[in-house]
Amino acid sequence: MLKIDKLTASYSGITALHGVSLTVSKGEMVALIGANGAGKSTLLNCISGIVPSDSGQILFNGQELSGRRPASIARMGLLQVPEGRQILSDLSVYENLQLGQLALGNRSPTWSHEQVVELFPVLGARQNQRAGSLSGGEQQMLAIGRGLMGAPELLLLDEPSLGLAPKIVDQVFSVLTRLNEAGLTILLVEQNARRALQIASRAYVLERGMVVHSGPADVVAADKKVVTYYLGNLADAASQDQPA
């Protein structure tokens, strides 16, 4: 569904991606892990058309994405839930969800407003509130719900656990698992590598703009280097789950 081939890109003059290749097939949940500054967000923003690529290819369902504008990429069904939620804080919760439908273009919806509210009841209870007044976890749910309103074929999630309490992270990740089981294709970018590797089927490890490791999630999780650098030992596990 998504095929990235030898992608290079720079961000404010510094080369952030050095020939990254990556694929996501229909129905998969793929995790992309790596330290802060490894180029994870740049990669997502390249896919979404926010950051231009220097060379290489990004194919979505066989169509080249480089050179397309962000709005047109969103309308193809490739939706990003950006880092830090980026909800439209001055608009109401309801309006945020309605804006999600803009990405539909000519495609038919896969999620109705009622279904999204069923998935995240809090969004129904607070639909007339200013979105900026929601808690961090509620904002993350709104950001995901808003993405679903646009009938995503592939959902890109950038650090959905960032700044959330462990209990809320559990909730968000269990929703992602359910969405994936229901057939939604997901590319999950996470610094919280342990959690990401638990729910993903495959994983890529990004380091200084290069893919240094990839494979089935459990194999990656068992890799010695990955354990040392990204997962820590068991004693550290608890602190890994703390909000950033």
Binding site: P70, D90, L99
Partner: protein, 296 residues
């Protein structure tokens, strides 16, 4: 007498509000301080006058002036602001660019009018006043008040009740997030600049008619008043622009009526300072967000 002065003030304030609404819309949504707004207002008055001189009816002159200034405003965005936007952090550069645009427009008008003050032909609007609740109301005052109410209502409907308006507010709130949702920012700039220019042109023709005096430098005092309204109402707040515009019109009219004329500016600016001492972000501004366009 007081009621009469209040009404006159409201009418003048309505024009300030129309002028400031467009100024504040562009600032609130795009963070662009467009100092050419006064010049666009002046161009609107000229285009309205020329249309009438060509023999067109007044309503057509209004329409032509508004469409002309709307397109002019869009063109200014294309030529002066859009190239700077691509470079990223360009708020200050855009401010300077807008001063350049203002100079170009004012000098073009200076050449076109030979620096003369032009007037609408006599009798273009009926001057016979009618009386309502003991107040003397000219037909033009009535038109200004009606047009202002209509414009504010339409703008509010557009921003808060239509899908386009929701997209405008989305861009105002977070342009990048809006792009990721499928909003095409180029379309939003087109709309906001068109509406902003249209309101300036409308205000220009109304003022041209009200004072029957049109010249190349007529935009400057209104730009200054626009600033006062912007600061008084709160940066980016459309509600603030309307309330502060009306308040400014009333204060100015009352001080002209009851105090020596030379004191008008002193009174207006002293009151502005007083308000800013109590509410540093203006009547409807808050410290967290200066983009109140997005708020209900």
């Amino acid at each position: 007498m007081l009621a009469q002065q209040l009404f006159n003030g409201l009418v003048l304030g309505a024009v300030y509000a129309l002028f400031a609404l467009g100024f504040n819309l562009v600032f609130g949504v795009h963070k662009i301080m467009n100092l050419a707004h006064g010049a666009i207002f002046m161009v609107g008055a000229f285009v309205g006058l020329y249309s009438v001189t060509l023999g067109l009816p007044l309503w057509a002159a209004f329409l032509i002036a508004m469409v002309f200034t709307g397109l002019l405003s869009v063109m200014i965005d294309f030529v002066a602001f859009r190239p700077l936007r691509k470079t990223g952090d360009a708020e200050f550069a855009m401010l300077i660019a807008s001063i350049g645009v203002e100079m170009i427009l004012v000098n073009l008008a200076l050449r076109a009018s030979d620096a003369r003050t032009l007037r609408f032909p006599f009798g273009i609007v009926p001057v016979e006043p009618f009386f309502l609740f003991g107040m003397r109301i000219t037909p033009l005052q009535f038109v200004i008040a009606a047009v202002a109410v209509l414009c504010v209502t339409l703008l509010a409907f557009y921003l808060y009740r239509t899908s386009f308006g929701r997209q405008v507010r989305a861009v105002s709130s977070n342009e990048r997030a809006a792009m990721l949702l499928g909003v095409e920012p180029r379309m939003i700039y087109l709309q906001t600049f068109f509406i902003s220019g249209l309101l300036a042109g409308l205000a220009g023709v109304l003022i041209g008619l009200a004072f029957n005096s049109i010249n190349f430098s007529m935009g400057e005092p209104y730009l200054l008043r626009g600033f006062v309204v912007l600061i008084l109402g709160g940066l980016g707040s459309l509600r603030g622009a309307v309330v502060a515009g009306l308040a400014l019109g009333i204060i100015q009219t009352l001080s002209v009526a009851y105090f020596p004329t030379g004191l008008t500016d002193i009174i207006v600016y002293s009151l502005l300072f007083a308000v800013l001492l109590v509410r540093p972000n203006g009547l409807f501004g808050d410290a967290v967000s200066d983009a109140r366009v997005a708020r209900r």
